[in-house]
């Protein structure tokens, strides 16, 4: 049928299928900003405007837009840039995948409502799910935007009343000033952990400091730094670093915007699904309806007859001698057993692939899937992890199952791994304790629920190699796994990742890639596979379900003397990450109690016939910390002690050796400060344990602590390649994957700090197995700590090289020169060099500064057109450049120096000193970050409804390289923890089907599901990390679980030993 409609102001006449959905129509017309995050109308990612009203384009028939007006983010670029800048200033765009939908809805609200209240904003955004940000940064950005808009309008109306001819200029200035003051406030707020409440936004900045707009523009960076310093009482790491090195932190520990922020916020097509060629074959798999079965017969004849179907593969297409592999993205030889085939005759869970179908259209493929006839020999499944070990039914009876590492695995026992570790005589210590709490805790699986489902597309490149473009955290491991699955040499495979729409560990496992890879390798045609949300919920890699038996021994005075932990972990049908996750349940919970004399930690990981588990933020520590921290909270209640007081007595301190943490020393630890901070900021003394409200609801408090690692000790490898280019900018190439966290930006900040240049002078490329230096990938909290250190050392090495070539040009030895970011100068002429240095540095930097100033201006987009502003800035910059260049020439005559640009130019002619270098780093220790959290909940005792009204957290991640992004990591992780504690459930039917198979049934927190998150930083300084940094990505999910569980106990008197805690359980007796 034919329809006529307007899309972003342009008229279209289009021939369409009657059941085409609007989202597919607009994407086919190049509007890739509309994203699909579910099939059940729950996520809000596909929001567009229909006649000016926000609508779910996934739920509107294209036929219905006949005669109507459709607007996507592509049609609102100006508004998107204007408002988006405020989100970018919070770092709240994160992976960006949900942003177009969020932006469309927020912009609709702004048009609808001149001055919405916070409550109205929250309710309006309840249908826009975001998994990264925890919504708080979005809210801050919106509040700032509204404040700015109000001020702008006020100025405009005042100007209207005043002299018209000058009004434009006047309003410009005011707006610009406001913006800078906002930025300063925001930056300050973010650096100063205490200001997590919104009151900071109302703090006044001294107006005199921004009296001159041009000056403010050109020196905005310095200005903000100044403001940050003024406000930041907590910049411990900064002072530490500066004391140690006498070097100011210029780009590290600064809240700079993510490099890709504006591209993401304006909805540019940068994700896997946006980049796939139009003519890709659509790849889908037929999935087993049985939890345990053998395929007796499979008939694809009818399915092959469907027009448009290209190929169908079954287990019969896999060579009989194919070697098994693991899909876990881990360093080779993987700890995870090699227990998978691309297609196996034995299917081991409801959802296990049975056949691969590739065809020209989704419809054809769906039709073919329905026509494949399979006869199964249905086998008894093992569904209860309690009975899995030594069950006569084996999940992996096959002979070619293989465990490459000594993890205690035995497929003839359904055992994926077994481990034991101990320190001291735990039985003796427990027998001497006044009190031994003996409790069993159960955490169910949980879905990472990144907004972008698993997806990859494959092509054959000019050399006949397979090019896999995938939303993956682990390009190098992915290359190995794809090659293994296809039985081809790794040299035939290249893996790259574009922007990733969130991962949280899910994409540390190869889930989708092998299927299109196989299709493209066989057919030599491009193909793509995009997981549905249902597949994501039923055939993916959720958190390992674990049961933890804790015995906690203590004395009446509160001394914790011993912890005995037995964990049983359910890895499901395949052992991906099975042997490794379980270790963290003990090794990252027990060491928190540094005074304990003994510990024992025993673990079993068992196979069952449910969906395989995988890596999810926290990776076992989350489960173990729920158990141990809950037990310690219960101990506090038994002893009538305050939970904080009990912790203060027992926690591990800086300098302690941690026997349960592989005997590693605790090199940096502000856990004590985190405790004090959270106690204070949460108002614990006044609020703990409960207050009854007049309306019958109960407010209650609960707390918990956490630790994590900063890498896998002695294993994770991070690498960086840096080169300096003509005009003096740098290219940083990495193999780590920015999955929305902002590691591209953070690593550039580290490089810029060492190279003494603006962050904008460092471009980042990655990750690509052909081009990137080897990196184990973005997981295990290792990117900042390991890859960050590699970048730091790499940048130092590049400095050396710049100096070497500079010295050569200056005709002296390398030892005689120094590099100041702008030029290499001769050290001996100190007096002259000082003067020259200052001036030349200014000259070298001023062009960059002008650019930076322009960018800063863009951040604030105001009434002035961008072009005008750019010119203005560049004029100012150019004038200064000219002036300073004159000066430089004059000084250079006296002093001896050579600018970076000149060095680079010289490097391109008759040169044998490479201005490019690669550095690889690995750490033998994994210094833990620490965190303390406290939940304030409101319970309706009769309905059992629990809402986290406020969550308070203090994090010790060493130096936060980017306080904005660290804060948003914390907020996002905490909200995921809230979801795991209160609503995210995974349950199975008696025959092994997952009930929670969509976002309609698996409930991640929406904006309205909690109140506010307050994050503070208590920085220790970790010598092993870049500029004192440790990790932050994983630890942040852990503390809500025990905190909320204990708060519920305080409110209701009921202890919960299983997550999630649903309202029906809270209300029940």
């Amino acid at each position: 049928m034919k329809i006529q409609f307007t899309l972003n102001g342009k008229k279209y006449g289009q021939e369409i299928r009657p059941d085409l959905l609007l989202i597919d129509l607009v994407r086919s017309l190049g509007c890739y900003s509309a994203k699909r995050g579910c099939e059940t109308s729950n996520c809000g990612l596909c929001t567009v405007w229909l006649d000016g009203q926000p609508a779910l384009s996934c739920s509107v028939l294209a036929a219905r837009v006949d005669g109507r007006e459709v607007t996507t983010l592509e049609g609102l670029q100006e508004e998107a840039a204007e408002f988006g800048a405020f989100i970018a200033d919070q770092g709240a765009e994160q992976c960006g995948f949900c942003n177009p939908g969020f932006m469309m809805n927020a912009l609709a609200l702004f048009r609808d409502n001149e001055d919405p209240s916070e409550q109205e904003i929250q309710e309006y955004l309840a249908g826009n799910l975001c998994r990264c940000s925890g919504y708080e940064g979005q809210l801050r950005g919106m509040m700032n935007f509204l404040e700015w808009r109000k001020a702008r309008r006020k100025v405009a109306s005042e100007d209207d009343a005043a002299d018209g001819s000058l009004s434009g200029e006047a309003s410009d200035r005011t707006v610009a000033e406001m913006q800078y003051s906002d930025m300063a406030k925001t930056s300050a707020a973010l650096t100063d952990g205490s200001i997590s409440d919104r009151s900071v936004l109302n703090r006044t900045v001294d107006d005199e400091t921004i009296s001159d707009r041009a000056a403010a523009g050109l020196e905005s960076g310095a200005f903000i730094t100044e403001q940050v310093r003024r406000f930041s009482s907590d910049a411990v790491s900064q002072t530490h670093h500066e004391k140690e090195t006498a070097q100011p932190l210029r780009t590290v520990n600064k809240a700079v915007r993510k490099k890709d922020a504006m591209q993401l916020l304006t909805g540019q097509p940068v994700y896997t699904g946006d980049l796939a060629p139009e003519d890709c074959l659509i790849v889908k798999v037929l999935r087993s309806p049985h939890a345990n079965a053998l395929i007796e017969r499979i008939d694809t004849a009818n399915a092959m007859k469907v027009p448009g179907v290209e190929v169908i593969y079954t287990w019969e297409d896999i060579p009989a001698d194919a070697k098994r592999f693991t899909c876990a993205g881990q360093t080779y030889p993987e700890a995870s057993p090699h227990d998978r085939l691309l297609l196996d005759r034995h299917v081991r869970y409801v959802g296990d692939p049975v056949a691969i179908v590739a065809g020209e259209t989704e419809k054809a493929v769906d039709r073919a899937l329905a026509l494949i006839k399979v006869t199964y020999q249905v086998l008894t499944p093992v569904l209860d992890y309690h009975t899995a070990l030594d069950n006569p039914v084996l999940v992996h009876p096959e002979d070619n199952w293989e465990s490459l590492c000594p993890v205690g695995a035995d497929n003839q026992r359904n055992l994926c791994a077994h481990d034991e570790s101990r320190g001291g005589d735990i039985d003796k210590v427990l027998s001497e304790c006044d009190i031994v709490l003996d409790r069993t805790y159960h955490t169910k699986a949980a879905q990472q629920t990144m907004m972008e489902t698993f997806r990859a597309f494959c092509t054959i490149d000019a050399y006949g190699r397979l090019h896999v473009t995938s939303s993956t955290q682990i390009v190098f491991h992915c290359r190995r796994i794809v090659a293994a699955a296809l039985g081809i040499p790794q040299s035939k495979v290249r893996v790259t990742k574009p922007r990733i729409g969130g991962g949280f560990g899910a994409k540390q496992t190869v889930v989708a890639e092998i299927f299109p890879a196989f299709v493209t390798w066989k057919t030599k045609k491009p193909s793509k596979m995009i997981y549905t949300r249902e597949e994501c919920m039923t055939a993916s890699t959720p958190r390992h379900e674990m049961e933890m038996h804790v015995r906690l021994g203590a004395m009446r005075d509160g001394r914790i003397r011993g912890i005995d932990l037995y964990t049983i972990s359910n890895t499901g049908a395949y052992g991906d990450h099975g042997p490794t996750t379980v270790g963290l349940s003990g090794h990252k919970s027990i060491p928190l109690y540094g005074k304990a004399e003994a510990f024992r930690f025993v673990s079993d990981v068992v196979y069952t016939n449910i969906m395989a588990a995988g890596a999810y933020r926290g990776y076992g520590a989350t489960q173990g910390l729920f158990a141990v921290e809950s037990a310690v909270n219960e101990l506090a209640a038994e002893l009538h002690m305050d939970p904080f007081a009990l912790r203060e007595m027992n926690i591990v301190r800086e300098g302690d050796v941690m026997p349960a943490y592989y005997g590693e020393p605790n090199t940096s630890c502000a856990l004590d400060k985190c405790l004090a901070r959270v106690k204070k900021m949460s108002g614990w003394a006044e609020k703990f344990p409960v207050r009854r409200l007049p309306n019958g609801k109960i407010r209650a408090m609960g707390m918990g602590m956490a630790m994590q690692g900063s890498c896998i000790s002695g294993m994770d490898v991070g690498s960086a390649t840096l080169k300096v280019n003509e005009e003096g900018y740098y290219t940083l190439t990495i193999g780590a994957a920015d999955m929305g966290t902002g590691c591209d930006t953070i690593l550039a900040q580290i490089a810029a700090q060492v190279l003494e240049c603006p962050v904008d002078a460092v471009t980042v490329f990655g990750a690509d197995t052909d081009a990137s230096p080897y990196d184990s990938g973005s997981y295990a909290s290792s990117t900042t700590f390991v890859t960050g250190k590699a970048v730091e050392k790499c940048a130092q090495d590049l400095r050396e090289r710049i100096c070497k070539l500079g010295a050569k040009l200056l005709g002296c030895e390398k030892e005689q020169v120094e590099f100041d970011g702008g030029k290499v100068y001769v050290l001996e002429e100190e007096g002259a060099a000082d003067a020259a240095g200052t001036n030349n540095a200014r000259a070298a930097m001023s062009v960059n500064d002008a650019g930076a100033a322009y960018d800063a201006d863009v951040a604030v987009v105001c009434d002035v057109s961008e072009q005008e502003k750019r010119e203005e800035c560049l004029e100012d910059g150019a004038a200064e450049v000219a002036e300073v260049q004159d000066e430089r020439r004059a000084v250079e005559k006296q002093s001896r120096s050579v600018s970076l640009q000149d060095i680079v130019i010289a490097s391109m002619c008759g040169n044998d000193i490479a201005l490019e270098t690669t550095y690889t780093h690995s750490s033998m220790v994994s210094p833990p970050p620490y965190m303390v959290g406290a939940a304030e909940i409101e319970v309706d005792p009769q309905t059992g409804h629990v809402k986290v009204v406020d969550f308070y957290a203090a994090v010790d991640c060493g130096t936060p390289i980017n306080p904005n992004l660290a804060r948003v990591q914390a907020e996002g992780g905490i909200v995921q923890g809230i979801g795991m504690a209160l609503s995210e459930n995974i349950s199975y039917s008696a025959d092994g089907h997952v009930h929670e198979n969509s976002l309609m049934q698996y409930k991640i927190p929406a904006r309205t599901d909690f109140g506010h998150i307050h994050v503070a930083f208590e920085n220790s300084y970790e010598d092993g990390g870049p500029f004192g940094a440790k990790s932050i990505g994983e630890i942040v999910i852990n503390t809500p679980l025990p905190s909320i569980a204990d708060a519920i106990y305080q409110a209701t008197g009921k202890r919960f030993y299983e997550l999630p805690i649903l309202p029906g359980q809270v209300a029940g007796e």
Binding site: M1, P18, D19, L21, E39, T40, S41, N42, G44, T47, L50, Q53, P54, A55, L56, C58, S59, V60, L61, A63, R64, N105, A108, E123, L125, A126, G127, N128, K363, D366, R692, P694, N695, G696, K697, I698, D940, P941, Q942, T943, G944, H945, L982, S983, N985, S987, S989, H995, Q1001, K1003, P1005, A1006, D1009, T1052, L1062, P1063, G1064, A1067, G1068, E1069
Partner: protein, 359 residues
């Protein structure tokens, strides 16, 4: 994903009705969740060209076209004022603004879904639906009708001198409800209660014993309260205590059979039948109003301690009566026992709301 062979924007109700007589054809409301069904539709019938997308406020009624969106309904000032905010409260938790901009009144009502806030709302308001062939019938009757192939044209909300109050309990803010409760205070001060998402579709509480009568009429506030103190609430309390686990679980089991029959709610909510009704009933009997801090009416200060006590008892009696007479079942959002507890709580709270307002 649904597949559609033809799309037809009906030019008249007659045409829509005519097309709809074919089993392979289907009327699309807002589309929304319809897209999730796996069926193959011959002709999708679109009513959006028939001017059914307006809310008309008359002196005696609101006339709401079936293609009016939930968002239109939610933001209509007249309806908001007339229902004391009940419309807004009933709709604001449904997924999100964008969803409610698409979902229609007709689509939401026609399915008569178990989880439906919309059905609970209109049943509470004692609204009527106008079917193209079937004429005007009360929503409560429509809810029980079989899925005939008629066309839902309008919903009519007759204005009455009543007060309204809407509550729902949800596991998360935008989830399907675990229970919905619409309440009306009638002109004579009597209470009318409607419960949905039990998880079966909404139903009115049949007040055979006059328990809801005269809740808020002048002297009746005290009178009834005293009355209650004398016999009513005592007897109800007695019933509550006497009801043994056996009977309870029987009634729950019966309900579950009903829920199995209701295929539409299974489709959409993943209703999970067959939880252990016995053990849940045990929970339930043990789940008396232990935490009743929330049930205290705020009429304490000016009144005598005795009447406050009596009012409390009256509220409890209403809750207990509702819990006894509203069948509930289990699904993944809550057990039958939990829902019965919610029925009790929300019934008491509704009564308390009007009582507090009256004072």
């Amino acid at each position: 994903m649904i597949s559609i062979k033809e799309y037809r924007k009906a030019e008249s109700l007659e045409e829509a009705w005519e097309l709809n007589q074919k089993k392979a054809n289907r009327i699309i409301g807002g589309m929304m969740w319809l897209k999730m069904s796996c069926g193959r539709v011959q002709t999708a019938i679109d009513l959006s060209g028939l001017g059914l997308d307006t809310i008309e406020e008359r002196d005696d009624a609101f006339v709401i076209g079936s293609m009016v969106t939930l968002r239109q309904l939610e933001t209509h000032p007249g309806l908001d004022a007339y229902t004391d905010g009940a419309v807004k409260e009933a709709l604001r938790h449904i997924v999100g603004v964008q969803f409610r901009n698409g979902a229609t009144v007709g689509g939401s009502l026609f399915g008569r879904y178990g989880f439906s806030d919309v059905l609970t709302l209109f049943m509470t308001l004692d609204a009527e639906v106008e079917l193209y062939k079937g004429g005007v019938i009360p929503v409560s009757v429509f809810a029980e009708m079989s899925y005939e192939r008629d066309v839902l044209v309008r919903v009519i909300v007759k204005k009455k001198p009543e007060k309204y109050y809407y509550q729902s309990v949800r596991n998360t803010d935008t989830d399907f409800p675990a229970l919905t409760c619409g309440a009306a205070l009638e002109a004579d001060g009597s209470l009318r209660l409607c419960f949905g998402a039990r998880p079966q579709k909404a139903m009115m509480l049949a007040d055979r014993d006059g328990v809801l009568d005269g809740l808020c009429t002048g002297e009746n506030i005290v009178g009834h309260a005293e009355n209650g103190a004398g016999d009513e609430s005592e007897s109800h309390a007695g019933v509550e205590l006497e009801s043994d686990a056996g009977t309870e679980s029987e009634s729950h089991a019966g309900v579950e059979k009903e829920s199995n029959a209701g295929t539409e709610s299974e489709n959409y909510t993943g209703v999970e039948p067959g939880r252990d009704a016995g053990s849940e009933s045990e929970n339930h009997t043990g789940a008396e109003l232990k935490n009743n801090a929330g049930a205290k009416p705020e009429c304490g200060t000016g009144t005598e301690a005795g009447s406050e006590d009596a009012a409390m008892k009256r509220l409890e009696a209403i809750g207990a009566y509702a819990a006894e007479n509203i069948p509930t079942g289990s699904n993944m959002r809550g057990s039958a026992a939990y829902r019965s507890k919610l029925v009790k709580t929300l019934a008491s709270r509704a009564a308390e709301h009007f009582l507090t307002e009256a004072l």
